[in-house]
């Protein structure tokens, strides 16, 4: 049973006919070819599929495409691009907060959702906000450092003199 939905994805208007049982994740990946958000566990436990829905981080695997009708969706593709990186992407690169990269889009979206709410998070805040994101290569330390540095950059704080 198909329904027509109209939404904005990364700022662009989209109107599509979608099956009622299609998840927002499937819609993004299969219809719009936005494959940044990943299918990990498909039950809301790994955070690889996070996107912003009206500015809030949600699991796209637990959201139906029809539920996004009339809403604004931001995926990792809506952030920076090569040569014009978002401060979070730049900080993840600088801190080597990436190994295989599968969890990275979800990590960055979780961090973005946090920083919209709380531009100056403590390490505890970052750990709490990212606790729904799994990295199986392990490397949470670098990820936390990257988020805190990006937060400082986004606040306009002067950059630290030397990286540790």
């Amino acid at each position: 049973m198909n329904q027509t939905i109209s939404l904005r994805v990364n700022g662009l208007p989209e109107t599509h006919e979608v099956p009622a049982n299609q998840t927002l994740l499937q819609f993004l990946r299969e219809t719009l070819d936005l494959t940044g958000a990943k299918e990990g566990c498909n039950e809301g436990e790994c955070g690889a599929c996070l996107v912003l829905l009206d500015g809030r981080a949600v699991n796209a695997c637990l959201t139906l495409a029809v539920e996004a009708d009339g809403r604004e969706v931001t995926t990792i593709e809506g952030l920076g691009h090569a040569g014009d990186l978002h401060p979070l992407q730049a900080a993840f690169l600088k801190h080597a907060a990436v190994q295989c990269g599968f969890c990275t889009p979800g990590m960055i979206i979780a961090a973005l959702g946090l920083l919209r709410d709380n531009p100056d998070p403590s390490e505890e805040d970052v750990r709490w906000a990212m606790s729904g994101n799994l990295c199986r290569c392990t490397g949470y330390r670098q990820i936390i450092d990257a988020v805190q540095e990006a937060a400082a950059a986004m606040r306009g704080d002067p950059a630290p003199e030397a990286a540790p």
Partner: protein, 309 residues
């Protein structure tokens, strides 16, 4: 794994939701969907129709009523946890909302959904039992108030009738100011159900203070332990260990992948004692593994809640 086929309807009012349920076959109400969608995917539930509640304005607000603070069935947990009146008067609920899954899930999951799912491990249930909250349930026959204590019948089972819709969860004025700490053991901090959850709370006013002890994940339903509460009311914190023993004897845990029945039973005793100690400690007790992920309420002072903008 794909979701099975179903049709999706959007209700714009409670009346419309009830009408849709009555005329659509095999229908279910959809709030946050964080339990329902995985259950559909795994075949644990089957529905040919989903009725979305999230566009019903009257279910998307938190309002003061004569009975107390009423939380709409479509309000996400994250909004409850940051609502000024909830933070000021019901810090226990804030703490428990912030322990459900992880933050992205809390941006979707709802309080009504968490308790209607009736998991024995529901984190918000222990807060609602402690606060003696009620739910407002409506059906074509009318509206009724059900205490959260009376709502749970067993794992996944409530006393709601087919098609009956929970519209609001009501936190009574009389429970304002109850404080305490949620002692929760789980395999990891985020995204896992409690292996054992224990909430020990005491009243704001009154001398001597009154106590409540609620348990999660150690019986077919979340439960209160009345005799442990009465003992603490009579004897205060020095009865912590004996209160733990009473709670240990009252729980009926099972063995599953998260822990054995014997482990859970022993931990109930330990966590009740820790919870009592945390009530009177100058800043609570920092217990590894029992602390909340991220900013939470380590002690009951209203200044310590880590208010976010």
């Amino acid at each position: 794994m794909l979701l099975p086929s179903f049709a999706f309807s959007t209700a714009r009012s409670v009346e419309e939701a009830l009408e849709l349920w009555a005329c659509l076959p095999d229908a279910a109400y959809l709030a946050g969907g964080t339990d329902l969608l995985p259950q559909l995917r795994l075949g644990k539930r089957a529905h040919r129709n989903l009725i979305d509640l999230k566009r019903i304005q009257s279910l998307s607000r938190i309002r003061e009523t004569e009975a107390g603070l009423a939380i709409g069935a479509a309000v996400p947990l994250a909004d409850i946890a940051r609502h000024p009146a909830v933070r000021e008067h019901y810090p226990l609920l804030v703490e428990c909302c912030r322990r459900v899954g992880a933050w992205p899930l809390q941006n979707r999951a709802t309080l009504a959904g968490n308790i209607c799912n009736a998991s024995p491990a529901a984190d918000t249930a222990v807060a609602l039992l402690t606060l003696e909250a009620g739910v407002i349930a409506v059906s074509p026959e009318g509206e009724r108030v059900i205490s959260v204590t009376g709502l749970f019948r067993g794992p996944g089972q409530t006393c709601l009738r087919p098609g009956e819709l929970v519209t609001e969860v009501v936190l009574p004025h009389a429970s304002a100011g109850w404080h305490g700490s949620y002692q929760r053991l789980s395999r990891r901090q985020g995204m896992d159900l409690a292996t054992v959850g224990v909430l020990v709370a005491s009243s704001n006013g009154g001398a001597p203070p009154r106590h409540r002890v609620s348990l999660a994940a150690v019986a077919p339903t979340p439960l209160r332990v009345a005799d442990a509460e009465a003992l603490l009311d009579r004897e205060g914190p020095r009865a912590a260990r004996r209160a733990g023993e009473l709670a240990r004897d009252r729980c009926r845990p099972i063995t599953d992948l998260r822990g054995s029945a014997e482990y859970r039973r022993e931990m109930v005793g330990v966590l009740v004692a820790r919870g009592v100690a945390a009530l009177s400690g100058p800043s609570g007790i920092v217990v590894p593994g029992a602390g909340g992920p991220g900013p939470r309420t380590p002690d009951p002072g209203p200044q310590s809640q880590g208010e976010r903008p």
